[in-house]
């Protein structure tokens, strides 16, 4: 087994991985950009290394520096987490060349499945249905136009290296095609460092259901059942649950087998996720393979009892799976809510800034994978995910009630978050009945926008605070008229960051 692992990520996932390492008696090396010198993931590391400036390209996407630091610190393996370099085949190759184990699939399998176009070609061979679309990306607009004409609008433009909805655009008419491709390329370049996009038929109102698969280097492959990921906003998953309320055991078994055959066909090892779209007639289509540990992996861990990150490390070290398919079952019902720093009152604009007060929920069946702390300044440079709240209960009904209450008891003040929005989702009738698809957020906009019907209570509380808690504030004289007060943003107050201060 490894003695030392470098964790090439930040935030809650870096902490999640460090926990697994420490339980396995492996020491951890954390990395950080200059703006992350005070970030919480570093508290969970045995050693920490500054890898550069805040811009992702200069730090968390900097392959050369990360490999160098892994070598220098004597790390035997690198865990990439999700996002950043997690699905970058060049990085996997660089690890292999440097004699460092990449905790994930081989570069060969990564190239095959990590590239969405290549993966479609692989899947075709094993009798798993795919969505009609381009078999290769192109630099020629005419190629996109002719494929769109062939499959018929609406079509969808996707980043070849993509995931999480970044670089994705739905195109409803030929007029929208060119600007959508350009916007998709821009976003793809910035999120994945590769501007390649491709095009396929857009399946309307589908459910998004994925299967977690795990395969060792000895040929053993097991699926850990599905995750229902249809609750999405702008193609970004925000709530996931397992089991899916849409699947029966026959379809579940069929999709599980399909997922395993995709993984085997790609000679993919380690943990991977096979994503499917399921249409109204319960027909399923292969969407893509996510060659990484996923944001939503905890719900699978909750219902199967399998520690996915621990098994990623075991498999990367050449170990054999400790269980077979017959040993795995789903017990209870798990839900995950992703807590993001974004403002539902202003069109979900990112809301970086200082966390003034933090209280995280706890109790039976509650798991919080958090990357934040009170007093921390959330930087504007990275993904807005702050933490993940997961509930487990014996039934779906109780798990939803538990989530609703846990969200109510998740208090983050000082920055805007989507907590209230998430609570309204799980309180919605359509969510409770389980009859939803990927358009749930758009279709239920009215019920989900903040009503602020507790403004009276808020104003009462504010006036009580001002009167009884900080009276000094209340009697402070009013500035003379004509004297303009400037509200300082936290950014103005921050001043300059010291390079690699730590």
């Amino acid at each position: 087994m490894f003695k030392k692992i470098l964790i090439a990520n930040r935030g809650e996932i870096a902490i999640r991985i460090a926990r697994a390492c420490h339980e396995m008696d492996i020491s951890t090396i954390g990395v950080y950009s200059t703006v992350d010198a005070n970030s919480r993931h570093l508290w969970h590391m045995d050693e920490t290394v500054c890898i550069g400036e805040p811009a992702p390209q200069a730090s968390y996407l900097n392959i050369k520096t990360i490999i160098e630091q892994a070598r220098r610190t004597g790390a035997q393996a690198i865990h990439p987490g999700y996002g950043f370099l997690a699905e970058n085949a060049l990085f996997v190759k660089a690890c292999e060349d440097a004699g460092i184990v990449f905790i994930g699939p081989s570069s060969k399998a990564m190239i095959l499945v990590g590239d969405k176009v290549a993966s479609r070609n692989t899947v075709k061979r094993v009798d798993v249905p795919i969505i009609p679309g381009m078999e290769a990306s192109s630099t020629d607009l005419a190629a996109y136009r002719s494929m769109a004409d062939q499959v018929g609008y609406p079509v969808i433009v996707k980043a070849s290296m993509g995931g999480g909805g970044k670089g994705m655009r739905i195109v409803r008419s030929e007029k929208e095609l060119e600007p959508s491709i350009a916007a998709g390329q821009r976003e793809a370049q910035s999120a994945f460092g590769d501007a390649t996009v491709y095009l396929e038929k857009y399946i309307q109102n589908p459910r998004h259901i994925e299967f977690q698969v795990i395969r060792d280097t000895h040929g053993n492959v097991v699926h850990l059942y599905e995750r229902e990921c249809s609750i999405q906003r702008r193609h970004q998953k925000i709530i996931e649950e397992t089991p899916s309320p849409a699947l029966d055991n026959v379809l579940r078994a069929k999709m599980g087998d399909a997922a395993k055959s995709v993984i085997k066909a790609a000679d993919y090892t380690n943990a991977g996720t096979v994503e499917f779209l399921v249409d109204h007639n319960m027909k399923f289509y292969f969407l893509e393979v996510n060659a990484r540990v996923q944001v939503e992996h905890p719900i699978t861990e909750m219902v199967t009892g399998v520690d996915i990150v621990r098994h990623q490390i075991l498999i990367a070290a050449g170990g054999e799976l400790e269980f077979r398919q017959k040993d795995i079952s789903q017990r209870g019902h798990a839900i995950e809510s992703r807590i993001y720093a974004e403002d539902p009152d202003s069109n979900f604009m990112p809301s970086p800034g200082k966390i003034l007060f933090l209280l995280e929920p706890s109790g039976p069946g509650i798991r919080v994978d958090s990357g934040i702390y009170q007093g921390w300044d959330v930087p504007p440079h990275y993904d807005p995910i702050l933490s993940k709240l997961v509930t487990l209960a014996e039934t779906r009904e109780i798990s939803i009630a538990r989530m609703s209450k846990a969200l109510e008891n998740y208090i983050i003040l000082g920055i805007k978050t989507n907590i209230g929005f998430l609570k309204r989702i799980v309180d919605t009738e359509k969510f409770i009945t389980g009859e939803y698809d990927t358009h749930f957020i758009d279709d239920n906009e009215e019920a989900l926008i903040p009503q602020h019907d507790k403004i009276t209570q808020a104003l009462v509380a504010a006036s009580l605070v001002k009167t009884t808690r900080n009276a000094v504030f209340a009697v402070q004289s009013v500035a003379k008229s004509g004297q303009v007060r400037h509200a300082m943003t936290p950014w103005q107050e921050l001043g300059h960051w010291e390079i690699c201060s730590r």
Partner: protein, 167 residues
């Protein structure tokens, strides 16, 4: 005590008085009786219409952040008529600014360009999300205060426009 709080561009007038059993609070001319009040550093609790409320709060400057049963509020205390809330605006007169701090990904115009209302002037990215800044009206680009790749601050003029006069 009398306060003015701004919430999402709406101003609420609140007057609070001690009463026999607790406090009387008048909000926008409507009276409420508050009993069983207790206040602590980050939580206050009280009964309003016989219902118990436990409300978490935190303060920074003139802003008070509150969590009320899963609903979130940021109230800005107004002081006289000098400083009117945050009133964050994308356009102030003839300049265009980003609402959020972030990376200036692209400038789509040059000084001297004639732009129509709605023209995308620049793209700013924060937390992997790109926002387009558009011209508030027709005009000519007078000044650009940042260059591509710069980190821009929120609410600082990014592109300044000379507005064409109507005859």
């Amino acid at each position: 005590m009398k306060y003015k709080f701004e919430h999402l561009n709406k101003t609420h007038t609140v007057e609070i008085k001690k009463s026999d059993g607790g406090y009387q609070v008048t909000i926008d001319k409507k009276d409420y009786d508050i009993v069983n009040y207790s206040g602590h550093d980050n939580i206050v609790s009280f009964k309003l219409n016989k219902e118990l409320n436990n409300i978490y709060y935190a303060q920074a400057g003139d802003t008070i952040y509150l969590a009320v049963g899963g609903d979130y509020y940021s109230l800005v205390l107004e002081r006289g008529n000098v400083f009117k809330g945050t009133g964050a605006q994308v356009q102030k007169g003839d300049s265009v600014q980003s609402l959020m701090p972030g990376l200036l990904v692209k400038i789509m115009v040059a000084v001297g360009d004639d732009v129509k209302e709605g023209t995308t002037l620049a793209i700013v990215e924060a937390m992997k999300m790109q926002n387009e800044l558009r011209a508030p009206r027709d005009g000519i680009v007078k000044r650009i205060n940042y260059k591509e790749g710069d980190q821009v601050e929120a609410l600082k003029p990014l592109v300044e426009l000379e507005i064409l006069k109507n005859d």
